[in-house]
């Protein structure tokens, strides 16, 4: 999706932010008016009067959520989709729509409007709506400004082990609180119950996006006390839905909610405290969501085909099922394809031979048959061949003509030409022939489609003399664990993917290429871009330095929201692709979902990359209600 871009003349950074926010506010107001005109008269988000309320939607997930639904920890799109649509409201949020329909634009949620920003871009003021309360077991307790401070303090708490605290280091005092040097986050002040003031360390124009993430959802005083590890099972809802059994929770109790059985099932029911008239974003048609965890992809998609399940949240539909649906006029509208704003890639360990040589990395970029990789995943439907790192939608299409490695079926000749410049091609024949070229360890995801891609990878790399030794295992606890740990033996990570956290290229910056994102307890600079010499020495690498882009990342993070910012990130991308080469990006993902025939009004939530369950209804809702 293309960002809103103001006229790029010289102006103060605060003015840029205000102009950007005013544009968003106009979009938000227009959006609210438009949806109000379509109101079904009975719920939030306007809604469609042809859609019935009620019914039970049946869904499936192969894998459980990552951190037992703890909002400060969960860094997983499925969890984020459930938070946004259903369980947690934030100061600002998203409408649950595709990017081209405004799905990346911020809209007010618990705040009555988009924030006021000072001229210098350092002070953001949010004014809360009146009369919005939490759900059980804090039902009827009004949400106040201090509740957002509770959430940020928990995000900063090292005992919690939060998923993405680095996004909130821009708040003054956040890092000091995290380090135990302060009792409060100095940059967050509840002026009164309705007014929250946030002071930043710099003019970071994307704070709104950061406050729309689930970690910023309010927490009542004391609700998370003693639940550093398991708050998710005692989650206090603010959205239209809650875990079944939340009404039986005791504040401060130790018996977790019954509606979430780890590894088995998730059941969401209506939150009785949710007031539809305060929520323009979420129509919330369905009465109940039943999500079963486990099973196999084949069985689950057969169930969708048979109408026993409505939606599969974390699976890749098999190509033959997609074809079956698309070739049937009665079923072709059950397949939905949306750009996911994400990139699939191979990540090099810049410190591990032979990929410590930039020419080997470039040769690998030339040789990979990206079209073949895509074909294995399901063909053109699953995405566009990636020519560089950051999806075009996040950099304003600045690099549409940029293709440094001829992304396609692979160019062996160009790869060999590049390899000849490498120290690992000792005889100049275009093949990697040093001992380091044999038994090169690759960490891979054992599940489909990655397992099917291995043969292609072995073939492609062998054509430039690199003999891969692929070690496969479970995605999170083997592949990602290995790729994130500089001390584990691996040279290339073969199965990762990255999606934006919000609609700004900064989410492709620091987390992936910042030196602070290196290490087994950090996320997710697998390639060790910018690793310090002492870190390399600690992990016993022979190489003493690797290229870094920290300075450039900081420059872009602080750039005003404008064409200048987009260009800055485009420059980061080209710098990485040409002078660092940490990856072989091969696919800009599409999200493909196949749904049952009783599911109506399918919407794609561009923010989380998940179906917007708050907008969907059931054809037989009346029968089940």
């Amino acid at each position: 999706m293309t960002q809103t871009v103001p006229d790029p003349t010289t102006r103060q950074r605060g003015d840029d932010v205000n102009r950007y926010l005013k544009a968003l506010a106009l979009v938000a107001v227009l959006g609210v008016v438009a949806t109000a005109c379509r109101s079904d008269g009975g719920g939030g988000g306007g809604g469609d009067e042809d859609l019935q309320r009620g019914g039970i939607m049946r869904l499936s997930m192969i894998s459980d959520v990552e951190d037992a639904f703890d909002p400060q920890k969960e860094y997983y799109q499925v969890s984020w989709g459930l938070y946004r649509c259903c369980m947690l409201r934030t100061l600002v949020s998203y409408a649950g729509a595709a990017g081209e329909d405004g799905g990346n634009d911020l809209v007010p949620d618990l705040a009555e409007s988009l924030p006021q920003v000072s001229d210098d871009g350092l002070t953001w003021t949010f004014t809360l709506r009146d009369g919005i309360t939490f759900g059980p077991p804090y039902a009827d307790q009004e949400i106040v400004a201090g509740d957002f401070i509770n959430a940020m303090e928990r995000e900063a708490d090292p005992d919690v082990g939060a998923g993405y605290p680095f996004y909130y280091s821009v708040i003054e005092g956040f890092d000091e609180y995290s380090a135990g040097e302060a009792d409060t986050i100095s940059g967050m002040t509840a002026i009164d119950d309705k007014t929250l003031e946030i002071t930043l360390t710099g003019p970071f124009a994307d704070l709104g996006f950061r406050m729309a993430m689930p970690a910023a959802a309010p927490i009542p005083d004391g609700a998370a006390d003693g639940h550093e590890e398991d708050y998710g099972r005692f989650l206090v809802p603010s959205g239209p839905y809650m875990f079944e059994g939340s009404d039986a929770l005791e504040p401060g109790g130790t018996t977790p909610v019954s509606g979430y059985q780890p590894g088995q099932s998730i059941v969401l029911v209506r939150n009785p405290s949710w007031d539809a008239s305060t929520d323009e974003i979420r129509p919330a048609y369905v009465d109940r969501f039943e999500i079963e965890i486990g099973g196999t992809d084949e069985d689950i998609f057969n169930k969708i085909d048979a109408g026993e399940l409505d939606l599969h949240l974390d699976g890749v539909p098999p190509a033959q099922l997609i074809r079956k649906f698309q070739q049937n006029p009665d079923r072709e509208d059950q397949v939905f394809v949306n750009s996911a704003d994400g990139t699939r890639y191979l990540a090099f360990n810049l410190a591990a031979p032979p990929f410590d040589d930039i020419h080997v990395r470039k040769a690998s970029n030339f040789v990979l048959d990206r079209d073949g990789m895509r074909r294995i995943r399901g063909g053109e439907l699953v995405g566009e061949l990636a020519r560089h790192i950051i999806p075009e939608s996040l950099i304003g299409d600045k690099l549409v003509d940029y293709d440094p490695y001829n992304a396609g079926t692979g160019d062996v000749e160009a790869a060999m030409e590049e390899m000849r410049q490498s120290k690992y091609d000792t005889d100049g024949d275009g093949l990697c022939d040093a001992p380091a070229c044999k038994g090169v360890i690759g960490a891979q995801d054992e599940a489909f489609p990655y397992s099917d891609q291995n043969a292609l990878l072995l073939d492609n790399f062998s054509s430039i003399g690199i003999e891969l030794d692929i070690k496969s295992g479970e995605r999170s606890n083997f592949m990602y664990a290995r790729c994130q740990d500089p001390g584990s033996e691996w040279a290339i990570c073969l199965g990762p993917g990255w999606g934006k956290d919000y609609s700004d290229a900064t989410t492709f910056g620091e987390p992936l290429f910042g030196s602070a994102a290196i290490g087994p307890d950090a996320c997710c600079n697998y390639s060790l871009v910018g690793a310090a010499p002492d870190l390399l020495a600690d992990f016993k690498y022979d190489i003493t330095e690797v290229p870094g882009v920290d300075a450039k990342l900081k420059e872009c993070d602080e750039a005003p929201v404008s064409d200048e910012r987009l260009q800055c990130w485009a420059d980061v991308d080209t710098e990485l692709m040409e002078n660092v080469v940490p990856w072989v990006p091969y696919l800009w993902d599409n999200d493909v979902f196949v749904v049952s025939d009783r599911l109506l009004n399918y919407r794609y939530d561009q923010f989380s990359g998940q179906p917007a369950m708050d907008h969907m209804a059931l054809a037989d809702a009346g029968a089940e209600a």
Binding site: D64, P158, E229, Q261, E290, N302, E474, F478
Partner: protein, 323 residues
Amino acid sequence: MGRYLIRRTLFLLLVLFIVSMLTFLIFLKLPPGDPARRAAGRRSTARIIELARHNLGLDRPWYVQYARFAKGLIPLPGFFLNEQVYFSYDNFVPVKEEIFDRIPVTATLAAGGAVAWLLLGIPIGIASATKPRSLRDRLGMLFALIGVSAPVFWLGQLFLFVFWFKLGVAPSSGLDIGDTLMESVLSGEFVMPWIVLSLTYAAFYARMVRGNMIETLSEDYIRTARAKGLSERRVVYKHGLRAALTPVATLFGLDLGLLLGGAVITETVFNLPGLGQYAIKSLQVADFPAVMGVTIFAAFFVVVANLFVDVVYAFLDPRVRYT
């Protein structure tokens, strides 16, 4: 008999000691790296890692560590799968709680499967043994060959595809959310898992019963029974089968004990939330206290089942009490 029981019990304790020591070494001592970090999981904080270190006794001598670990095998409250060692830092719940929550599903699957394989395997074995090399014998052994050869994961997928997806005569995989276990059983959600689970065992038992019965029916006392004019039915069932079933009883106890540790493949294919599925999920997320707990639990059941079978065998065949 008393001395026999004492001998078998001491042997059980020895086996439990060896199992616990091996498991302790495999999980805690032999792998490289920090076991506390492994136990705490990938995203754990320093606080959780230290908590795991303290609970596992990793800050104490090795024999203290082992003692805490082995305590989990003693079937007494506060000891069996104690929370100190067997605690899942992945979901932050005691492993015992998860195991006991899932045992009913596994027990239902195992019990039903056991009844099915006995009802299928024994009659086929008898039918084959009483008319060796006949058509029914060959059909029976063909069934046995298929049952033994066909992997459970393949059979399960085939059954789901044919009987549920194509013919619509059986429920799909998984248990309906919100249903009690009894409701799930009564709605037929266990029927296909029972059948799939039982086929391999039924095949094996059919072959074993056939072999034992052919041998038994050729004994002198059987010839004597026939010579005395007893009916063939009486000869086969009262005299022949009883002796042929003795080794079957031994094996049945062991198989059931093993199954109570989790029918891993069947539970995974049919998405049944039992012990086997828990073991797989724990392995996938590297929740090794949970894996340890399931291992110890399964080992305990197998060893106890073994003892039970030995006792039953001693009643069936008094000669074994003196060996």
